[in-house]
Subunit: 343 residues, 2 copies
C-alpha cells in the first residue's frame, strides 16, 4: 500500500504490467490465468489498493454472484441462527449473500423477492411463510431465478427443499413422553403461520395412534408471531381451567412453550418430570432461550447447520451446472431429542 489509490482496472493494469482483459479474467476466477501471471497480479495487489467496482461488475456480468437469502423473521433467534449459517456457506463458496427478513409479514415476502429481482441474484435461498396464497408468486419467481426452499416446504414448488423431518422428530418426542409418563396432548395455534405446524400436528396424530393412545389437540386463538404471548395467555387460560386431559403438553414450537411455562409459573403450577410436579411441557426447535426457561425446556433440536449447508450446496450445484434440477429434491434431516427439566 505504498502507492497512490488506484481508480480503476485500467490504472491497475498500467501499474501492474498486466493487460486489463487478463485482470478481468483473474478477478472473475483467479484460477483461470496462468500461475505465473496470477502471482504477478497478486503481488501487485499487495502493493496497490485496488478492488473492482462492484456496481460496474454487476452491471456487466450476465449473472451476478449475488445470492438472496430470505427468512420470515430475523427477530426470531431461530431464523437469525439459520440465516447466519446460510450466509457463511455462501461466503465460503465465493458468493455475496444478501440477507432479507420479511419481519413476520407475508406481504413483505413478496416485496423482498421483488427487491431481489433488481439485484439480479444468481440464486435464492428462501425460508417461506408457506401460505397457500403465495404459492403462485413464489412459483413464478422460481421460474426466473433458481430457488431452494428451506425450513418450510411448499409442495412441488422451486428446485428443492431442505428441512427437518417433522414426522421423525415429533414421533421421537412423543415416544419419549409416552415412555416416561402420561401420553402428551398437543398445543398449537389455531391458524398456524407455517406449514411445519400442520406437519407436526399430523405427525402427533399418527404417532399417538401408533402408540395406541387417544390424541388430544388444543388450539389457541391468535395470529402472527407473538408466540410467547399466545402461549402465555391461551395456555394459561387452559391450564387454570384444568382443560388438559393429561399432565403432559407437547407444544408445536418452543416459543409457545416458553409462553406456557411463564403462565404456569404465574399460576403456581409446578412444571417438570420430578416428584411434586403437576405438569410436563415439551417444545420443538431448541430455541436459544429454551435452555434458560424455568424449568429448562425439553425439546427437539433441529440441525440448523446441516439444513443451511445442504440448502446452500444444493443451490450451488444448480448454479455450477447452469441447468435446473431434472427432478425436485427434498432433503429431510432428523431432529434430536434434548432432554431437560420440563418433561
Amino acid at each position: 500500500m505504498n502507492q497512490r489509490k488506484i481508480r480503476n482496472m485500467e490504472e491497475f493494469a498500467a501499474v501492474s504490467g498486466i493487460s486489463r482483459p487478463t485482470l478481468s479474467k483473474y478477478f472473475n476466477d483467479p484460477e483461470s490465468v496462468r500461475q505465473s501471471t496470477r502471482e504477478r497480479i497478486e503481488k501487485a495487489l499487495t502493493l496497490y489498493d485496488y478492488r473492482p467496482n462492484v456496481f460496474a461488475v454487476n452491471q456487466n456480468r450476465r449473472r451476478t454472484k449475488n445470492i438472496g437469502v430470505v427468512v420470515p423473521n430475523l427477530a426470531d433467534p431461530f431464523f437469525s441462527e439459520i440465516g447466519r449459517e446460510v450466509e457463511l456457506a455462501c461466503l465460503a463458496a465465493g458468493y455475496s449473500p444478501i440477507l432479507l427478513s420479511s419481519h413476520g409479514k407475508p406481504e413483505q415476502e413478496r416485496d423482498n423477492l421483488e427487491a431481489l429481482r433488481a439485484l439480479k441474484p444468481a440464486g435464492v435461498l428462501l425460508a417461506p411463510f408457506g401460505r397457500a396464497s403465495d404459492k403462485a408468486d413464489i412459483e413464478d419467481f422460481g421460474k426466473s431465478v433458481p430457488v431452494v426452499l428451506f425450513d418450510a416446504n411448499i409442495e412441488g414448488v422451486c428446485e428443492a427443499f431442505v428441512g427437518t423431518d417433522n414426522f421423525q422428530s415429533v414421533d421421537l418426542i412423543v415416544e419419549y413422553l409416552c415412555r416416561s409418563g402420561e401420553p402428551p396432548c398437543f398445543f398449537e395455534m389455531k391458524s398456524p403461520s407455517n406449514p411445519n405446524a400442520n406437519k407436526r400436528r399430523q405427525a402427533y396424530l399418527e404417532s399417538m395412534q401408533r402408540h395406541g393412545h387417544a390424541p388430544h389437540i388444543y388450539q389457541a386463538e391468535g395470529e402472527g408471531w407473538k408466540f410467547e404471548e399466545i402461549g402465555s395467555t391461551e395456555g394459561g387460560r387452559l391450564m387454570s381451567a384444568g382443560a388438559f386431559v393429561t399432565n403432559t403438553v407437547l407444544c408445536s414450537n418452543d416459543r409457545l412453550a416458553i409462553g406456557m411455562l411463564s403462565a404456569a409459573y404465574g399460576l403456581g403450577i409446578r412444571v417438570g418430570h420430578g416428584e411434586g410436579s403437576a405438569l410436563r411441557i415439551a417444545g420443538h426447535d431448541d430455541h436459544p432461550f429454551s435452555r434458560y426457561t424455568c424449568p429448562p425446556l425439553t425439546t427437539i433440536a433441529q440441525d440448523y447447520a446441516a439444513i443451511a449447508n445442504r440448502a446452500a450446496s444444493t443451490l450451488f450445484r444448480i448454479l455450477d451446472t447452469e441447468t435446473r434440477l431434472s427432478e425436485r429434491e427434498e432433503t429431510l434431516f432428523d431432529g434430536k431429542l434434548v432432554m431437560r427439566g420440563s418433561a
Copy 2:
C-alpha cells in the same frame, strides 16, 4: 402492464414520449420535473414495466442512496429490533438500508465497514462494539463517510451519537429498588464488551452514593455474547455461595438477569418482591423475552424507536445539507422503569 418488457431507459423514453435525461431527473427526484410531465411519466409507468437498473444507477451517481446499518449482533433480539426500526426510517426517507451484523465478533465490524466501502454508501448508522482498539479504524472510516453512532458511544468519534442516558436509567431503577426494599448490589461481566456496561457501573456507584448506601459490585468471568450462560453459571455460583450482601441484585443487562433467574430457579431460590421471596433481581434493556421469565423481569425499557429514528434523522440532516456537523451531537433518551415480578 399490457406491453412488452422495457429493457432500459432509452426504450422507456421511446414508448413514453419523454426524453431520457428528463426521465433520469424524474427517477432521481420525482419532484424535480414539472407536474404535468410527472403525470405523463407516472401514467406510462403504469402501462409499462420498467425500473432503472440499480447497478448502472449506482455506478454513475456520485453519491448512492445506500445507507449502511451495522449492528454488533443480529442474533440478539435487542439489536434485531432496533435494526428494524432503523431500516424502516431509511426506507421512509427514500434510502436503501443495508443491514449488516457483526455476529458478536469485533473483527467482523471492521470487515463490515470495509464491505460497505465498496457499496459507496451515502452514510452509515453504526452501533459499535466500542472497543478502544477499534476507535482509530472507525474514526478513519468516519472521515470518508458520514457516520452516526447509536446505542454505544465512542467519545469524540463520528458525527453524532444517539442512545439511552444510562445515568438517568440506572438511577431510576436504583432509586426504585432502594425505596422498595434493600439497596441493590450490582452484577456484571468483568470484561464487558460494551461501553454501556461501564457507564452503568459508574451510574450505579454514583446513584448508591447519592442515596447514602454502600455499593457492592460482583463481576463474572467470561467473555463474548453468551450472557445468559454467564449469568446462569457465575450468578448461580454466587447465589449458592451466599455471596451477595443484599437480597437485591441489579444486573448490567437483561440477558445476564435471564441467566441468573434460570440459575435461581434451579437452586430453588424464590425470586420476587412478594412474601416468601429470597431474592430480588432486576435488569436493564427490556429484552423481548424479559416479559416471559419466571418471574417476569423488572427492568428498564429503552426507547428503541426514538433512538433509531433520531439516529436516522440526524444522518439524513447531514446528507441533506451535504456538510458535516459543525459540532458533534450527543442525544440521550430517558429509560423507563418497567415493574414486573422479579423486583
